[in-house]
């Protein structure tokens, strides 16, 4: 599981041009948006695209579930895990 968290952090750093941030500076449980890392709505779209490219996950932009999945690195990891579970 910890490897998946690291993988997701590296995906986010690359997709969002966070060149000055190291993976270990992102907290697994902290909010990604507004507070915490401070990402914005364009970043959310960009992460959605990265999830689609890297893990084949398609999300609806406006659903409450999507909002929950994007809460933190841990929530994204749970999403990827459950997606792997349904596809294996």
């Amino acid at each position: 599981m910890a490897n998946l968290q690291l993988e997701l952090k590296e995906m986010i750093i690359t997709a969002l041009d966070l060149e000055d941030i190291e993976a270990d500076e992102i907290d697994d449980a902290e909010p990604l948006f507004v507070e915490g890392l401070g990402l914005d709505s364009i970043d959310a779209l960009e992460i959605g695209l990265a999830l689609q490219k890297q893990y084949g996950i398609k999300l609806k932009a406006d659903s409450k579930e999507t909002h929950d999945h994007f809460a933190s690195i841990n929530a994204l990891a749970a999403l990827v895990e459950s997606h792997r579970g349904t596809n294996s």
């Binding site: 041009d17 000055d20 401070g38 990402l39 914005d40 364009i42 779209l45 960009e46 695209l49 490219k53």
Partner: protein
């Protein structure tokens, strides 16, 4: 004829980071700005800084040192090509049937840099983004000087960067990314005049490099800048 006052100016390109260095560049035909180093934009919040591409970084570095924190000033943003490399990358994604990057899409519009500057400086003043094929520099100044009718001061940023290789056979572009920022004022600074007239071949010196023409004027190495329009057979003249 239109006149305005030039309150202050600044210019930035990688390796040309002071007004003195621009004066030296002007006098040495062989010296071009090839040492590519992205300016640091250290004053901007980290999360905003990453949104500025090479041309936006030049615009920040040229304009921000002249402006006080919290100062509200309308902006005329002028670029012939804008960030055409970004547009090309989106077109290439479409050609490959790849999904488009939402960030690149949002930043590929011509007024993206002026919008980012407005956010970075927390300045809600109006911004105007213009482009021109010929005579970008005098036309940008014409727009900015015209806006002095309703504002005491107007910031004019003129910037461009080299075209991607694919487009180079089709249009001119500078050898390096640059931005020139000029504060025009109703009352403060030295008076400049701007006029358009039929091309007078006997008095005009041929000048193909509009950037050099403007820098020479700004650096007090000339008192008149000529910008020819070969299609219309006219010229713009800026005089001190």
């Amino acid at each position: 004829m239109l006149s305005f006052k030039l309150k202050t100016w600044n210019a930035y390109a990688p390796s040309l980071e002071s007004i003195d260095s621009w004066g030296n560049w002007l006098n040495d035909k062989n010296q071009s700005s090839e040492k590519q180093r992205n300016p640091s934009l250290k004053k901007l919040p980290l999360m905003l800084r990453r949104r500025f591409s090479a041309i936006g970084k030049c615009a920040v570095e040229a304009s921000m040192p002249m402006l006080a924190e919290g100062q509200h000033i309308p902006l005329v943003f002028a670029s012939r090509h804008g960030d055409v490399g970004l547009t090309l990358s989106l077109l290439e994604s479409i050609a490959k049937n790849e999904p488009l990057s939402p960030t690149s899409f949002s930043l590929a519009v011509h007024n993206a840099v002026s919008g980012l500057l407005s956010i970075a400086r927390k300045d809600p003043s109006e911004t105007t983004a213009i482009a021109a094929t010929e005579n970008l520099i005098p036309l940008a100044l014409l727009e900015a000087a015209s806006q002095l009718q309703v504002h005491d001061q107007v910031l004019c940023i003129i910037c461009d960067m080299p075209l991607p290789d694919l487009y180079k056979p089709f249009a001119d572009s500078p050898l390096f990314p640059y931005a020139i920022a000029i504060v025009l004022s109703r009352q403060e600074g030295e008076t400049l005049s701007l006029e358009n007239q039929p091309l007078n071949k006997s008095t005009s010196s041929p000048q193909d490099d509009e950037l050099k023409e403007l820098i020479a004027l700004l650096c007090h190495q000339s008192s008149t800048a000529h910008f020819l329009n070969k299609q219309l057979n006219t010229e713009w003249i800026i005089k001190r």
